[in-house]
Each structure stands twice: as structure tokens, then as C-alpha cells.
């Protein structure tokens, strides 16, 4: 039992830090620090930069062009990236569909898709939920009818994140109505440019366009785009969800948010003293900080065990997802609440990179304040997406506790 970093890990951290220092574009860094909107190009450009350094997919095995990083290296990279205000890597290709293609896809699919993901050439998105199928995902109805060397796909996906930018979508589709609902599901890769695919924005409570409905009307999809076997998609879907839930914890990002929270609470004052010294608020911060301290170790313990036993992430990640999403929400809530009265303005124009507050507003309203309410509203999603907290608890009960 040893929580210290080895000399190699410390050297790796220094290397990552120096790289981020040199390579994160100042414009992007400023946007992230001030909570302004990132555009597609900010994220794609960053993926290409990482790829040039050979770090496009540190977590992937080397045989697929990845870095073959250890759990601790991945963690160091994530922590340093968050601390340096580097853009997040888009997870849908790298962390979600890629492990499925590596594990269940054929060689042709691996050669076709994986290099474009790592190079930032394809933007992927996820087609899981449907209007009638949320927590009960296996009841999904979007159909794929086999016609020769094509499937004809009809139906609707919803709560799709950033599909407006996507080149490809991975979908769960129904290829059979025989047996249990789980038995007739297949995993299909669909080119978003195919005729019959349309994207309709859904505006969320923070006023932003992050998620979409996606409609499929008689969309032809080559059978070559079926991953694994027909009607075995539920297995792949669950496999993917475990990868998705692993990443949800986002400890590095939470540490950065905690630092920001403390900065805000130091700058704000109450009764003539920094809010940070107010016992009531300080305790609120301490409570979430302790949850995060514990989660950091729980996260590393769980992921190290998978690596040591050479198995993909299992149901234990549900605990990480429950805790991680709660912490993300609590931090966002405290950051907003630290502003007090100044949290009330809702200036959506202030999320644009070039926004400057009017002189009177600027006397009490810092540049980063405009994003905090929106982030709070937006992050209510964290305990809902990727399987709600209640679904995670069902998973824990069934798969771990045997209830």
C-alpha cells in the first residue's frame, strides 16, 4: 500500500505539464478559465495536437496506436490537463465506441475507424436512448431490417450529445423481436451523412444546444458496419457503458473545479471577511472536498484492479459514477452559491469569447461569473445520463451484491 508516485510517474507528470504549458492555445485556455463556450474546432484542434505528440489515445493499447498508459499515467494526464485548462478529449470515439470496436469489431473495422478517431478526423456520437426507452434501454425500437448487404434503418434516437458536430453515430438497433428485449439488439455504425439522417436540436434548461433528437428515415447502412454479431448488441452496449461510467468520475476535472471554488470563495466576502473563512460555507466546501479525496483513491483502486486482473471495467464503476456525478453537481452548486446575489444575472451573451461586461457591471461581476449558473443548471444531467443514479444502484444490487 503506497500512495506515492514513482520516479517514472513523476517524470511523466513533468513531461505532460511542460507539453501542456507549451501547446494549449492561449485562446482556448482563456475560454476554459472564464467558462466561455468552446467550439468544435477548439476540441478537434486539441485532439490533433495530442495526436502529433503521440498522446491522442494514451489509454488505448499500443497495438491500436495508443499510448498503452497505466491507470496512474492516465490519471496524471487527466489531472494535469484539467489543471492547465486544456480542452477535454471528446469521449464518444476515444473512450466509448473505440473499446467496442477493439474488442468486438473485425480487423477491417479496426483499420477503418480507429486511426481516424485517434487523429481527430471523425467525430462520433452516441445513439442509445429513444423517446420511449431511457432507463429501460432494452425496450428500444429503432429498427434495422436486413435487405441483402444493407440494413434499412428507421426510428429515432434522443438525448444525443453534440451530434450536430458528428460524422458518425454508433447506434443500438432492433434486429429481432424474438425472445427477451435484450436478445434482439444489434450494434450498428452509421455515417451521419447518409440520406435520411436528420438532426433536431433540443435546447436544455441552461439555454444551450448540447443535445439532439436524431431521426432515421429509411437509412441504408452497409452490413459491413455491424459490430460483432447480429442480436448480440446488448452485450456490447453494456461493455461500452462500463467504459463510459469509468470516465464519468472525472476526478481531475473535479479537482480543478474545487480550486476554482476556493478561489471564488476567497474573492467573495461575507461580513467583511473572505467567504472562505466563514465556518458555514467552509464546511460545505470541506464536505465535498472529502468526498473527492475518497473518490480519487476509490477510482484508482477500482481501475488498478481491472488492469491487474486484465479485465475490462466491471459493475464496480457504477459506484464511481454515482459518487463522481454527485461531486460534480455539488461543486457546480457551491461555485454558483458562492456568488450570492451576483449569481442572478443570466447573461448568455457573456459565454462568447469576446464578451466584455459593461463598466458598472464589471465593478462587482467578474468575467468568469457568467458561466456559473448555466453550469449548475446544465450539470443536473450528471446524475441522469449514462444511467441515472437509480439505475447505477440497481446495477450494484444485481451485479455486485446479488440482490
Amino acid at each position: 500500500m503506497d500512495l506515492s508516485y514513482t520516479a517514472e510517474e513523476q517524470a511523466f507528470r513533468a513531461e505532460v505539464r511542460a507539453f501542456l504549458e507549451a501547446e494549449v492555445p492561449e485562446e482556448t485556455r482563456a475560454k476554459l478559465r472564464l467558462g466561455r463556450r468552446l467550439c468544435k474546432d477548439d476540441m478537434v484542434r486539441w485532439q490533433k495536437t495530442l495526436h502529433r505528440r503521440g498522446w491522442g489515445a494514451g489509454m488505448w493499447p499500443k497495438r491500436f496506436g495508443g499510448g498503452g498508459w497505466s491507470v496512474v499515467q492516465q490519471y496524471i494526464f487527466e489531472e494535469e490537463s484539467a489543471a492547465a485548462s486544456a480542452p477535454p478529449q471528446i469521449p464518444f470515439g476515444l473512450r466509448m465506441v473505440a473499446p467496442v470496436i477493439m474488442t468486438f469489431g473485425n480487423a477491417a473495422q479496426q483499420q477503418r475507424f480507429l486511426p481516424r478517431i485517434i487523429a481527430g478526423e471523425d467525430w462520433w456520437c452516441q445513439g442509445y436512448s429513444e423517446p420511449g426507452s431511457g432507463s429501460d434501454l432494452a425496450s428500444l425500437r429503432m429498427s434495422a431490417l436486413r435487405q441483402g448487404d444493407h440494413y434499412l434503418v428507421n426510428g429515432q434516437k434522443t438525448w444525443n450529445t453534440l451530434g450536430q458536430y458528428a460524422d458518425w453515430i454508433f447506434c443500438l438497433v432492433r434486429t429481432s423481436n424474438e425472445g427477451r428485449p435484450q436478445q434482439g439488439i444489434s450494434f450498428l455504425l452509421i455515417d451521419m451523412k447518409t440520406p435520411g439522417v436528420s438532426v433536431r436540436p433540443i435546447i436544455t434548461l441552461d439555454g444551450e444546444h448540447e443535445i439532439n433528437d436524431i431521426f432515421f428515415e429509411s437509412v441504408p447502412v452497409p452490413v459491413a458496419n455491424l459490430v460483432g454479431e447480429e442480436n448480440q448488441g446488448w452485450t456490447y452496449a453494456k461493455f461500452l457503458l462500463n467504459y463510459e461510467r469509468t470516465n464519468n468520475a472525472g476526478v481531475g476535472h473535479c479537482k480543478r473545479a474545487l480550486t476554482q471554488l476556493k478561489m471564488i470563495a476567497t474573492a467573495q466576502s461575507i461580513n467583511g471577511r473572505p467567504l472562505m473563512e466563514d465556518a458555514r460555507f467552509r464546511d460545505r466546501i470541506a464536505q465535498v472536498e472529502l468526498e473527492l479525496m475518497a473518490l480519487e483513491i476509490t477510482n484508482l483502486r477500482v481501475l488498478s484492479a481491472f488492469a491487474r486482473e486484465d479485465r475490462p471495467p466491471g459493475p464496480e464503476v457504477s459506484a464511481l459514477k454515482v459518487k463522481g456525478s454527485e461531486i460534480v453537481q455539488q461543486l457546480a452548486e457551491l461555485k454558483m452559491r458562492a456568488l450570492g446575489h451576483d449569481a442572478l444575472p443570466y447573461l448568455r451573451e457573456a459565454l462568447e469569447p469576446d464578451w466584455v461586461p459593461n463598466p458598472l457591471l464589471a465593478t462587482h461581476y467578474p468575467g468568469w461569473a457568467s458561466s456559473l449558473s448555466g453550469q449548475y443548471f446544465n450539470l443536473r444531467k450528471a446524475t441522469i445520463y449514462a444511467g441515472s443514479t437509480e439505475i447505477q444502484k440497481n446495477v450494484i444490487c444485481k451485479m455486485i451484491l446479488g440482490l
Binding site: 500500500m1 503506497d2 471564488i264 464536505q287 472529502l290 476509490t298 484508482l300 484492479a305 444490487c397
Partner: protein, 384 residues
Amino acid sequence: MDFRYTEEQLALQETLRRFIARDYDFERRRALTRSGSGFSADAWAQYAELGLLALPLPEDYGGLGGNGVDVMVVMEQVGRGLLLEPYLSTVVLCGGIIAACGSRDLKQQLLPAIVAGKLQIALAAYEAAGRYDLSHLASSAVQDKEGWRLTGRKSVVLDAPSADFFLVSARPRGSAADLEGLALFLVPRETAGLTLHPYATQSGGRAADLQLSDVHVEAAAVIGSGAEALDLLERGVDAAAAALCAEAAGIVSALNEATLGYLKTRKQFGVPIGVFQALQHRMADMYIAEEQIRSMAIIAATHAEDEDALARRRAISGAKAYIGQAARFVGQQAVQLHGAMGMVDDLIVSHYFKRLTMIDMTLGDTDFHLARFSDAGRGQYDAA
């Protein structure tokens, strides 16, 4: 980073498990709580034989030079078995303070005897209405030609009735809250002017209030004074708090096992009650809490001897504050999910619950450690 126990630690864990299964079942423990001393002298002799008493003490004095993680291995099993012997007081807390003090003579006098199982020591540091403040001290120490004369009262000295010596804090100078005006003295049990008023504690152990009336000790009995004494006390209490975190982690895992077993076997409405989602989700919360508690106990154990005082305070107070709350949650819910069975003295569940309650309130409760955790992190964010 490595989150595994070593081969030696796993072997130690297995030895303790076998010892508890063979010699320390629940009925035996209950009998001990009703006995005069409140623990088993035979078990203490076995701890000596197994090397548990030597484990964290320095090799120069017969110890094994073990670290906080070694102590964690022991304390987890102390938790699971609800062991009553004064391991924490004698070995971790007082043994640790003595091992860190400057006097070779005192170490030579005391440590080998602790290792051999021939000596028990209790810490007499807290006083009435001072809660967990080690510097809240009215007991006085007056120097004379032959040594010191101590007068005052000490509250709830854990494991006092069986102790051969006490480590007593008293104040040679300064006002009642002066941080550094204190000194730490070694006081033999059989000293004129020292009176014990013993009683039982929540979890079936023993403690006493101490009355010191002009108690005379030699000059050589000073373990430390001023800033050094406070530092010794703080280190000792930190190491012991880390050990309590591990004990709580052991209890929580045993309680979750018991509760899960109950959910699967207890039938109501014709089905095992574990099929009901309200109970399932509570159990899932308890499982998550157990994982987080274990992580915090690891953080505490790996910082138990940290020379960086701020880092040590943050780690150990953070863990103690977190575990105080999370273990209270698990304890209360274990009782709740056992229904009326959770209320009975015949079932180990209520005993685990009481021990967890006591752990939270020993050597600083959640509120105390939450404040100390925040204080230790102060000033980090002034740059904004």
C-alpha cells in the same frame, strides 16, 4: 502507487482472522464485556506472542518497526472482531508517543515491556468541558527539588482501569488555553495522590476519570514539554486516529456483510426483503460508503507517520471527519435494515453500531476534524 497489502500483511490478516474465529467469537466477547477487567488477559498474551504488540514499535527496543499500513491491517481485524484489549491505547497511542520522545531511558524502560505484553499505558490528556482540545488544560505541574507535583482532573481516560502507567498532560506555565505551556509526564499507577473512578464505555470497554492530588513524579518522568510535548501528543493522537479509521473500515465491511445476508434471508410478504427496491438502494449506498471509507482509511494509514504536519493533519483529520459521518450512516442503516432485530443485544449488529458511534466520538469527532482539515488547507487559495 500500489493498493495491495504485502504478502506479510496478508499473512498477518489471515492469522488475526483465525485467532478471532477460534478464540474470540461473539459470545466470548460478550462474556468479556461483563468481566472485571473488560478484556482478555489471555488474548493480550497472544497478541504479544503473535508480534502484534511489537508491530509498530521501533526495532531498537524490541519492536518490528512497522508502519501505519501494518497497523491498519491489525485494526481492521480489531474492528471485525470487536476486540476489547487496549491495543490502541497502549501500543498505537502511548507506545507511539514514547517511541517518538527524546528520552532513551524512558524508551528502554517502557517499550520492551509493552512488546512483551507486561505493561499497559493509557493517555490522560482530555479534561472536563474541553471536548477534544489537547491544550485545554487546567491541571498544574509545579516543579520542586526532586521533580514535579501534579494536581488536576482528567476525563474519560480510555483503558485506564488496567493501565500500569499514565501519560498525563499538565501545565507548568501559561493560561488554560495556552498552546505550548504544557508538559507530558509519565505517572505510575501506584502513585500516592492518584485516584481512579472507573466505569464502562458505550462499546463495552473500560475507562476512568483520574484525580491527581499533589502527585509527585521524578524529573526523569517528563516525556516532553512545551512545543515538543504538544507535537508528541498531536503525532500520537494522529496515529491513533488513523488506526481508528481502519477499525471503522473493518466494522463497516463486517456490518455490510451481515446486513446483506439478512436482506437475502429474512422473508416478509412471502419474499426475501432484499427484493424491495427501497432496501436495495439503501444497501447500494452502504456499499458505496464502504468503498469510500476504505479509501479514506488508506489515506490516513499512509500518512500516519508523515513528517509534514500539514499534510498529516489534512489526511488524518479528513479521513476521521469523513469516516465519522459515513460510518454513522452505515451503522444506523444496518440497524434500520435489520428492523427490530437490529435493536437487540443478542445480535452483533447492535454492538458494531455502538463501537462505530464511539469511534466517531473518540480522539476528535467529525466536527472537530472537519475544522482541523479546513485549517490545515488554509491559505492555499489566496493567490486569486
